[in-house]
């Protein structure tokens, strides 16, 4: 699962390759640890409600909302076997407080019904989830009586947290803000590409415990599709830029010829091109990327993109914005240099001579005669 859904902006403790350690005992120990400010043990289940994919998260509602920075839209008394729906999920599936819905197991076949007692709101992907209690989470996920999937926590001293976990002997992976993944009493996570290759080439059935690997493979394989589509769109944009510049450059070819005729060198021409094109390319890139961001903001939530049960939230990411601008400016500069090179290869006299911008049409008579 994407790290943002699992951890948000907190530290995350997940099961390592050793004995099962993510349980009530570890959660209690972490709660009592002096350096840990907040703890939220959680169980995640993947399922469908009314045919739509969504994530069920078993967590204590107060801790969960504290970690997600959320608030109650329609508060409800915390009861047994009740559920709380995120506002995004409610909007997407047309649910309301008081509704009863069918939920299914995640990696084990299950059917259960939950009563939606309240609605919460967060500014994170958790806004599209269903929050249930631990017994329901364990029933849906098939976990043991005291087990959790993960423990989220906040601490100001991650080094102390790691040494505390080492002292406990728990087999866990720990990751979080500015903390590279630490494997404590555990091997590194297995490379799922290997099992994927085995599965793709194998014959026959796969055990059900392969499901978690397969789901992980599927979720991360979306990156291939996303990067592929982004690459294809990038090619389209690059050719669009080149086509527009080629058209503009065709009109300037005589000017290039005149400048060369009066002594402008190739380096000077390139510098001139850079000075003229760069501000325009930069302005166009900033304007285009900015308009895209504003259009996406304007379209939401009516045309929001939902992937893996979570609405893709529009957030201004400076690095992505800068990357898009850089790519557009780079493409424009590269295209300009290619076009200039072609023009420089032509003699100045030929550039200056007035020639039709487009090739002459064939004689109609020739066409009509066949």
């Amino acid at each position: 699962m994407p790290a943002r859904i699992l951890a948000g902006d907190a530290y995350l403790v997940t099961q390592g390759s050793g004995a099962y350690s993510i349980n009530e005992s570890l959660a209690e120990n972490l709660t009592l640890h002096a350096g840990v400010e907040a703890v939220s043990p959680e169980i995640l289940s993947l399922g469908t409600v009314r045919g739509e994919p969504f994530v069920v998260r078993a967590a204590e509602p107060g801790s969960f909302l504290a970690f997600e920075g959320g608030e109650w839209v329609q508060p409800a008394a915390v009861g047994n076997r009740t559920a709380y729906a995120g506002e995004g999920l409610v909007r997407r599936l047309g649910l309301a407080a008081g509704d009863d819905v069918t939920v299914v197991g995640s990696s084990v076949p299950r059917i259960a019904f939950v009563h939606i007692a309240g609605i919460y709101r967060t500014a994170t992907p958790a806004n599209d989830e269903l929050l249930v209690d631990f017994p329901m989470g364990r029933f849906l996920s098939g976990l043991g009586a005291t087990a959790f999937h993960s423990i989220r926590l906040r601490t100001s001293d991650p080094a102390a947290l790691l040494s505390f976990l080492r002292g406990l002997g728990a087999s866990v992976h720990v990751s979080g803000p500015n903390l590279p993944r630490a494997d404590i009493a555990s091997d590194p996570p297995t490379d799922e590409r290997i099992s994927n290759l085995i599965l793709r080439s194998g014959i026959g059935g796969a055990p059900r415990d392969y499901l978690s690997t397969a789901v992980s493979e599927a979720t991360t394989s979306v990156a291939v599709v996303a990067y592929g589509i982004a690459g294809l769109l990038g090619v389209l944009v690059a050719f669009g830029i080149h086509a527009a510049q080629a058209r503009a450059f065709a009109d300037r070819a005589p000017a290039v010829g005149v400048l060369r005729a009066i002594g402008a060198g190739n380096r000077w021409m390139r510098r001139r091109l850079f000075l003229e094109s760069f501000p325009l390319a930069l302005g166009a890139a900033v304007l285009g990327a900015g308009l895209g961001f504003l259009a996406e903001n304007w379209l939401q939530p009516n045309a929001s993109l939902v992937i893996f049960g979570h609405e893709v939230l529009v957030a201004f990411d400076f690095s992505t914005f800068a990357l898009v601008v850089l790519a557009v400016v780079g493409t424009s500069m590269l295209s300009g240099l290619v076009l200039l090179r072609g023009t420089l290869a032509t003699r100045p006299m030929e550039s200056i001579r007035e020639t039709p911008a487009v090739e002459s049409l064939q004689s109609l008579e020739v066409v009509l005669r066949g």
């Binding site: 739509e52 994919p53 069918t102 299914v104 197991g105 084990v108 397969a214």
Partner: protein, 365 residues
Amino acid sequence: MPRPILRLATRFTRRTRATAWAIAFACMVLVGAMSLADGLANGVGSVANRIGTGPAVYIQGNELLASAIDSAALSNVPGDFVAIRAHPAGLEINRLTLSVFVVALESYQDGVGTIAFPAGPRNVSLDVGLRAQIEAESGTPVATSGNVSLFGLHLTDLPIVAPPPTRSELFPDNWAYVRPDLLIAMNATQGGPVQAILAAAPLDPAVVASLRLTRLETLGAIGFVRGSIAEVQSSLMLLALVIAVVIGLLVYAAMSLEVHARAREIATLRSLGASPAAVAGVYEAQAAVLALAGAILGSALGIVAAHAVVSFAPILGLPNLVILSPPTPAIVLAMFISVVAAALAGLVPSRRAAVLVRTKGVVPS
């Protein structure tokens, strides 16, 4: 269309060639993107089909609690299965009022239904989890009688009996079980229909179709991933719409310039006897031909690009569950939107070509 006219229509200039290339790149994006999304769906489907999903559960619609399968039709369903009736209800017991789910199970063998428990017609069997909840909240053992509110009716002093002797691993331990007869007696309209059919093996597709059933994926991770990929695929329809608009604009711009540049040629055609409709046909056909050429080229490029992405993904360290197959629907869609968008976008320029001589008095030199 007469051969010379067709030759005029299919004659590409530098401008129309450039437009065809632009359409090709747009179609490459569409076909490539759809190929990748379909390939991911193939890969996920391939994995999902190899994982045992447990018993088959069928419902009508997409919500079990809102499903209503005609119970009279169940005797015609071959094989062994369990008919499930399930409704939210209120339970008053031990001075508590709880929201519970009341379930009635009826086993069918060769079309004959039998009810195993509870034994008594008014008995309510509380499962172990529900009993534990009642005892924890009230602090007293579960009473021997309670009241149930269901379908707007309030039944009092119902005997509370032991938990069911067996329970499918599919079901939680907090349901209250009654006999189907009780539900039917309370409200034949709401209590009569069955909400779900639970079978050890998939039902005959003909039966499934005749009862308008859909299979409820009880292994949620599979349904989750399948549904998520379907969301990605449906999102690409928006991309198709955007590309149709782009193609339309490209064709409109190219054909407008073409008509403008060929004004003298159009006048010659008219003076040779070509009707306005024939002149319009030339440019309408040219718009369609260049869109089709672009779509064919773009489809080929899209297939190549999709294979390139899939081939290079492992080199870049990306896990890859994308299994590409011939993207026939994507190619058909690309060609369809290209031709339709071009035909629509070409209407105005071709009409302009048809009336050019009359309105502007252009004459051949």
